[in-house]
């Protein structure tokens, strides 16, 4: 990309006919960078990708996947239409279409066949107009911002004067304001009862700075007395609330200003208490306006944690404890809950907030801007930064060999990193991926749904989720690990809007893990399952397939002791391995075979109900000669009846039956019956 091209303004042309795009591009590409989309979905992807960098969109109506109206609807939903002008170009000339397009916020409608020069003029005009409008909007914003800064500056100066008389630094006002803001925002989150808009929060915070203006009329000796106040002195002190309120009430103008009303309530009632034992009016519970309650709480916290002429500063934890214990009077339980919940991060937040601080540097900056307006408007620099960020992340994505993805819920759309898309053989952008066979062929819809549910359910508490599953990548099922983060909207409270994440191939690592697990789960001599794993597996089988028929068999190899004694322990082990081999080759995939210990084995066969037949089957398979040793086994069985899922009971029964069989001598079989249990002490 040449340098010149990089700073050209971008125009998106969305039209399904390549020819139509080419005609438009031809007219505009010398002055603008042209981005093309051949359907509505691609158009939305381009808008998402470039955002406000797009200076204009030329939009066709009839397109596959998503038509021009669909694109406009999405643009409206995301408020993109406020940022990016759209000119519709179409051969649909019915007034119905034109009307609908205008209603959806387009700037201009051009009918086909169009005149190249006229289109060019309209494009240039629209872009210039929008740029002007944006500049104007930015200017107005700046002015408002400056005004607000100035008015809060005035209030800060005013309250600083009060503080100054009080021998305080002005930090108190600042802390009250930050605390009020933190409490209000948290209250918004936890309570349905109170809903403060951003404007209200800002206004209450400004008004909070005025809470002590009445102190201007309190004599300095009382205000700054190091010891305890006498009753008379305290009564005078108390009047700062009513005097402050009166001062505001007697303003000859601005009486109707919301700020003045808020400030009145705060001045007058920031010493009231929830149980009615505060002053000056002894209001109780919700008779005290909520913002006055909040400022009261903030005031108490800051008074406790600051040093005063008459007291030392309490540490943060101590202050919270004292307030919650009611040592500073009663407060609204809901506000106490808020205070407790923000307590952990409170100190840090208070140190970080600079709101309202009288900052000479800021004043300087404002002045500087006025005298020497910058050549580049802020927005252009932001766009360059964004461009830079995007190049960076696309570079890292291509280097990392990870499949990176982004999913948005509205519209339902999956965007894959370039490398990821190539690896999976998918397009970079997929609309409605959950309904797309190309996607579900790669990842099981069950897994997609599970992962989505986890993210959705935990996004407030635990936004980052790890999920291992199998996926068909490059023609084989491989283990992958998905690490994903839920995205939330900027609203308050936030809403789950989508997911970003990456998928990494962990196939080899997972296989190693599986192999390790298999090693510990198998008996070293015979290669059959160890009894612990067999037990686990049988319990799972029984729990999962109720109604399925099983027979549990316990086997004991006869005369092993004699073989050990006469031909050595090695030979005995060989016999056991031989038996295990036959067992392994006899059982089916859904059966379970294990070595219990020594010369005892366990088999669970599926799909059989006749115990006797099952026993015969394994006995005849095992009987025979092994290097001069006559192999035979005793077998005890129990049939698993429908719905019977207690492994321990079943094992005990089979074990009992085996004991009975062994009692009859070598090569014997017994099926379990209830009489056996009656001979408990044998």
């Amino acid at each position: 990309m040449s340098k010149e091209q990089q700073f050209k303004q971008k125009i998106l042309i969305a039209d399904d006919s390549e020819m139509n795009r080419a005609i438009l591009a031809d007219m505009l590409e010398s002055e603008y960078e042209i981005i093309e989309a051949e359907n509505g979905v691609e158009a939305i992807a381009a808008i998402q990708k470039y955002g406000p960098e797009l200076s204009l969109i030329l939009l066709d109506i009839v397109m596959p996947e998503l038509d021009g109206f669909g694109v406009l609807e999405v643009m409206n939903r995301h408020h993109w239409i406020d940022e990016i002008p759209v000119i519709m170009i179409s051969s649909e000339s019915s007034s119905f279409h034109v009307e609908r397009a205008y209603k959806l916020g387009i700037t201009d409608y051009i009918s086909r066949p169009f005149d190249a020069v006229i289109v060019h003029h309209r494009v240039v005009n629209t872009i210039v107009l929008y740029a002007k409008q944006k500049k104007l909007a930015a200017l107005v914003m700046e002015q408002i911002d400056e005004k607000e800064k100035q008015s809060s500056l005035m209030i800060d100066i005013l309250s600083h004067i009060v503080e100054f008389r009080n021998g305080e630094s002005g930090l108190h006002v600042l802390h009250i304001r930050s605390l009020t803001e933190l409490l209000l925002k948290h209250l918004n989150q936890v309570s349905d009862k109170y809903r403060f808009t951003k404007e209200e929060i800002s206004m209450i915070c400004i008004a909070s700075a005025l809470h002590d203006i009445g102190k201007i009329s309190i004599p300095g000796e009382i205000l700054n007395k190091p010891g305890r106040l006498t009753k008379e002195e305290f009564d005078i002190m108390k009047t700062h609330t009513t005097i402050g309120a009166e001062m505001l009430e007697k303003l000859s103008f601005h009486q109707e200003e919301p700020l003045v009303k808020e400030a009145y309530a705060i001045c007058r009632w920031h010493h009231e208490r929830y149980d009615g034992r505060g002053y000056p009016d002894g209001l109780k519970g919700d008779e005290i306006p909520i913002h006055a309650q909040i400022v009261a709480l903030a005031d108490v916290y800051d008074a406790l944690t600051s040093e005063r002429v008459y007291k030392k500063a309490f540490p943060h934890e101590e202050a919270i404890r004292m307030i919650c214990n009611g040592e500073c009077g009663a407060f609204n339980p809901l506000l106490l809950q808020c205070l407790r919940e923000i307590a952990d991060t409170l100190q840090e937040n208070l140190n970080n907030t600079k709101t309202g601080q009288i900052d000479e540097q800021e004043l300087q900056d404002i002045l500087e801007e006025k005298l020497h307006p910058k050549d580049n408007p802020v927005s252009e620099r932001t766009i360059q930064l964004l461009e830079h960020e995007r190049m960076k992340s696309s570079f890292y994505a291509s280097m990392s060999e990870e499949i990176q993805f982004e999913y948005s819920i509205t519209p339902p759309m999956l965007t894959l990193s370039e490398w990821g898309a190539r690896r999976l053989g998918l397009p970079e952008l997929i609309m409605d991926p959950l309904g797309d066979e190309r996607v579900t062929a790669i990842m099981d819809p069950e897994d997609i749904k599970k992962l989505g549910d986890i993210l959705h359910n935990t996004f407030r508490k635990n936004p980052v989720v790890k999920y291992d599953c199998k996926a068909n990548t490059g023609g084989e099922a491989r283990w992958i690990r998905i690490v994903a983060q839920a995205l939330e909207s900027l609203e308050d409270p936030p809403v789950y809007t989508g997911v970003i994440g990456k998928a990494v191939d962990i196939h080899e690592a997972r296989l190693r893990l599986d192999a390790l697990e298999s090693m510990v789960s198998h008996d070293a001599l015979t290669g059959l399952l160890t009894i612990e794993y067999a037990e686990k597996r049988i319990r799972e089988r029984l729990a999962m397939s109720a109604g399925e028929r099983y027979v549990l068999l316990l086997l004991d190899v006869d005369h092993i002791k004699e073989a050990n004694d006469s031909r050595g322990r090695m030979f005995g082990d060989q016999i056991l391995a031989h038996v295990a081999n036959i067992v392994r080759s006899s059982v089916g995939e859904e059966d379970v075979a294990a070595r219990i210990s020594g010369d005892e084995f366990l088999i669970l066969v599926k799909g059989r109900s006749d115990e006797k037949e099952a026993a015969r089957w394994i006995m005849s398979a095992l009987e025979g000669d092994y290097e001069g040793f006559k192999v035979s086994v005793c077998v005890g069985t129990v049939a698993v009846e429908e719905g019977e899922a207690d492994y321990d009971k079943l094992f005990k029964k089979a074990d009992k039956a085996l004991l009975m069989a062994k009692r009859g001598g070598a090569g014997q079989y017994r099926g379990y019956n209830d009489c056996m249990m009656e001979e408990k002490n044998l």
Binding site: D16, M19, I23, D60, S90, D115
Partner: protein, 120 residues
Amino acid sequence: MSLIDCYKSLEGDYDDVLGRLRSEKLVQKFVLKFLNDGSYDLLCSSLEAKDYKEAFRASHTIKGVCQNLSFTKLYRSSHELTEALRNGWSPEADPLVEQVKKDYEQTVTAIRKLQAEVGG
């Protein structure tokens, strides 16, 4: 065959297109490009598959391109076909399909002759 003759042969309006696009070179470039446009093939295949939604879109695209290039004759038939397919298949569509096919052949034959001449 010259560009003007090509327009005569395909029954288009050369003066109109030149008036809008302002350059003979540009007009010629896009006229030659028409041979590569896939909309006609898409129209035929989607009609065969009875996918009338897709056929509507393809026909609509042909109509739009013809409008841009002032291919008057093919524009008319494709315009009528587009309307006939707007709400799925209708009895008027069949003869209109035949008409569009005829007009399309006439158009591309003329453009191919132009292409042979200018070697595009």
